[in-house]
C-alpha cells in the first residue's frame, strides 16, 4: 500500500502543518513516510503545497506527480493539482472557498465546507483539520488515534489548549465526508 497525497492552499491555511500531522501519524504507525514542502518565495496569501507519502514499502521519489489524493483548500490549488490526480483518485475540495466544479469526470470529488464547519467548532482557522478529517475518512491511510497523537507532537506546547478544538474539527470533517 502506498498513498501519495498533495495538500495545497494559500499560505496561512495550515496546509504544511496538515501534511506534517499526516506524515507524523504514518510514522507513529511504523510506516514509511515523507513530507516535501514547496519552498518558493511564498508567504501569507501566496500558494503553498506539500507532498506527503505514506507507504508500507521503501519510498522512492518523495516528489509526487500523480497523487492518489489531492486536498485543495482554494481554487488555484484545485486548478493546479486536480489535473495531476490518478484516474479514480480522490479530490477533496474546500467548498467554503471553491464554488467551481473540477474539470474531470474520472475522479471522486468530496466537497467539504471546511471553513464553515471549523467555524462551528469555534475557529475557522481549524479548517485544515476539518479537511484532514475528510482525508482519513475517505482514504484508509492512517487511524484517527495516530492523527491525534501526531497533532499533539506537532503543536507547540503553548498551543496545546487548542487540541480539543482541533479534535472537534477533525471529527466534523470525518462526519461531513461520511455523508
Amino acid at each position: 500500500m502506498m498513498k501519495e497525497v498533495i495538500i495545497a492552499g494559500f499560505g496561512g491555511q495550515g496546509v504544511m502543518l496538515m501534511g506534517q500531522i499526516l506524515a507524523g501519524a504514518g510514522m507513529i504507525e511504523g510506516k514509511e513516510v515523507s513530507w516535501l514542502p514547496s519552498y518558493g518565495p511564498e508567504m501569507r496569501g501566496g500558494t503553498a503545497n506539500c507532498h506527503v507519502i505514506v507507504s508500507e514499502e521503501r519510498i522512492g521519489s518523495p516528489f509526487v506527480t500523480n497523487p492518489d489524493v489531492v486536498v485543495a483548500m482554494n481554487l488555484p490549488s484545485m486548478d493546479k493539482f486536480a489535473p495531476q490526480l490518478k484516474e479514480g483518485g480522490i479530490l477533496i475540495i474546500n467548498s467554503s472557498l471553491i464554488k467551481e466544479e473540477p474539470d474531470r469526470q474520472d475522479i471522486r470529488v468530496i466537497k467539504i465546507p471546511a471553513n464553515e464547519l471549523a467555524g462551528e467548532v469555534g475557529s475557522d482557522r481549524a479548517a485544515n483539520m476539518v479537511a484532514l478529517g475528510a482525508v482519513i475518512e475517505k482514504v484508509k491511510i492512517v487511524e484517527v488515534d495516530s492523527i491525534l497523537s501526531s497533532l499533539k507532537k506537532n503543536l507547540p506546547e503553548r498551543h496545546h489548549k487548542l487540541i480539543p478544538l482541533n479534535e472537534e474539527a477533525l471529527k466534523k470533517g470525518m462526519e461531513a465526508a461520511r455523508e
Binding site: G30, Y39, G40, P41, G60, S61, P62, F63, T65, N66
Partner: protein
C-alpha cells in the same frame, strides 16, 4: 510506536553534527539551507557551543579554519553561491590539512541562480572547487536518515584524514521531512586529542598550521603527501549502493535525491519486463569506479540521471571506459526530473537499442 522523530533534512544534519561532538558553527544565511544554521543557533548554546553568524561566507569559512586549527569539530553550511565564496578557505583548509565538515544544500545555478533543488555543484565539489591540487571527501545522502548517518561519518573521516569533508545535498534533502533516528552522542571531551592542534605550546615545540610554502620542493612534498591521502581514500572510503544490478541488462547511475526518483522509474520499467538496475554512488569522491566499471561490462547501456546539464556523467564515462554506451538525462535550473520522464527515457533507449 517508534522512537523516530519527523525532521527536516537541514535540522537533522545539524542535530547529527551536535551528537558527533561538533560545538562550533559559523555560517551566513541562504535558502534552501536556512533551517540548519537556525537550528544551530538554538541548540549550540544549550551545549556550551558557539554559533556565529558571520559577516560573510568568506569570514565564516575562515572561522571554520580557526576552530579546526584549534582541534575542534566544526561545521559550516551554505548553498551553491555561498559555497563558491567559501572555496578559497576550503582550499586553505585542504592545504593546511585541517578537518571540518562543509554542507552544501545545492540550488540551481549558475550565478545567484534560484532556490529550487539542483545537483549542478557536482564538479565543484568533487574536482577541487578551489585552487590547487586537492580533493574533498564528498558524501551524498538520499534521505534524511542517510544525511544523519553520513554527517556522523563525515566528522570521523575529517579527523581520520585531516581533510575537509563535504556533505552534498540539494534543496529536496534539506527541506524534506522524514523519520530519523540518531546514534549515540559523542562528547567532545571523549574525542582523541589532536597532537597537531594549535592550543598553546607549553612544554613542547610550537605547532604551526599554514598553507604557505615558498620553497617549491617543500610544497611538492606536501602535494605528494596529499595525493597519498587521496589514494588511501580511494582504497578505503568508497561507498556505493547497488539495486537490482545482479540480473540487469541496463543500469541507471544517479546520486542523492535523484537516485530515489530514478528508483521509482526503475520499478516501473521492471514491471514492463525491462531488467534495469541502479548504481547509487554515496561517496562522490572517492568515486566508485570499480563498481561502475564492473556493471558496465555486463549491461547494454548506462543512463546517468542528474539535476544538472550533465556533470557526474563524466565520471561514469571514465569508469565505464568504453565498455558500454553511457547516456545522460537531466533537468537543470531547479527543475526536478520526474520518475515519468526517466521512465520514458529508459523505454526510448531500450527501444533504440533493440532496433
Amino acid at each position: 510506536m517508534t522512537d523516530k522523530i519527523l525532521m527536516k533534512g537541514n535540522e537533522a544534519i545539524a542535530e547529527a553534527a551536535i551528537k558527533a561532538g561538533c560545538r562550533f558553527f559559523f555560517g551566513y544565511p541562504i535558502t534552501p539551507q536556512n533551517e540548519l544554521p537556525a537550528y544551530m543557533a538554538r541548540r549550540l548554546p544549550m551545549e556550551d557551543g558557539v554559533f556565529l553568524q558571520a559577516e560573510s561566507e568568506v569570514a565564516a569559512i575562515n572561522m571554520v579554519y580557526g576552530a579546526a586549527g584549534a582541534g575542534a569539530r566544526v561545521m559550516t553550511s551554505s548553498s551553491s553561491p555561498g559555497i563558491s565564496l567559501k572555496q578559497e578557505g576550503i582550499s586553505y583548509m585542504a592545504g593546511s590539512e585541517l578537518p571540518g565538515v562543509i554542507v552544501n544544500i545545492i540550488r540551481g545555478g549558475p550565478g545567484l541562480g534560484g532556490i529550487q533543488p539542483a545537483q549542478s555543484d557536482y564538479l565543484q565539489a568533487t574536482k577541487g572547487g578551489g585552487h590547487g591540487d586537492y580533493r574533498l571527501l564528498v558524501l551524498a545522502p538520499q534521505s534524511v536518515q542517510e544525511a544523519v548517518d553520513l554527517t556522523t561519518e563525515a566528522f570521523e573521516l575529517a579527523d581520520k584524514y585531516r581533510n575537509p569533508v563535504m556533505i552534498l545535498g540539494d534543496g529536496m534533502i534539506g527541506q524534506m521531512m522524514e523519520p530519523v533516528e540518531f546514534g549515540e552522542e559523542i562528547s567532545p571531551e571523549d574525542l582523541p586529542k589532536k597532537e597537531w592542534a594549535t592550543v598553546g605550546n607549553k612544554d613542547r615545540k610550537p605547532n604551526i598550521i599554514n598553507s604557505l610554502s615558498l620553497q617549491a620542493e617543500k610544497l611538492e612534498e606536501l602535494n605528494i603527501r596529499l595525493q597519498k591521502k587521496y589514494e588511501k581514500m580511494k582504497e578505503e572510503e568508497v561507498r556505493v549502493e547497488t539495486y537490482k544490478t545482479e540480473d540487469a541488462d541496463y543500469a541507471i547511475v544517479a546520486f542523492g535525491s535523484m537516485a530515489r526518483i530514478a528508483l521509482s522509474a526503475i520499478e516501473r520499467a521492471r514491471e514492463e519486463g525491462v531488467k534495469i538496475g541502479l548504481i547509487r554512488p554515496i561517496s562522490l569522491f572517492p568515486y566508485p569506479d570499480q563498481v561502475v566499471g564492473k556493471v558496465a561490462e555486463q549491461v547494454k547501456f548506462m543512463l546517468t540521471v542528474e539535476m544538472s546539464c550533465g556533470q557526474m556523467v563524466e565520471d561514469v564515462r571514465l569508469a565505464a571506459n568504453g565498455r558500454c554506451p553511457v547516456y545522460f538525462y537531466g533537468r537543470s535550473g531547479g527543475v526536478v526530473p520526474t520518475s515519468q520522464e526517466i521512465y520514458e527515457k529508459i523505454m526510448e533507449l531500450v527501444r533504440g537499442e533493440k532496433e
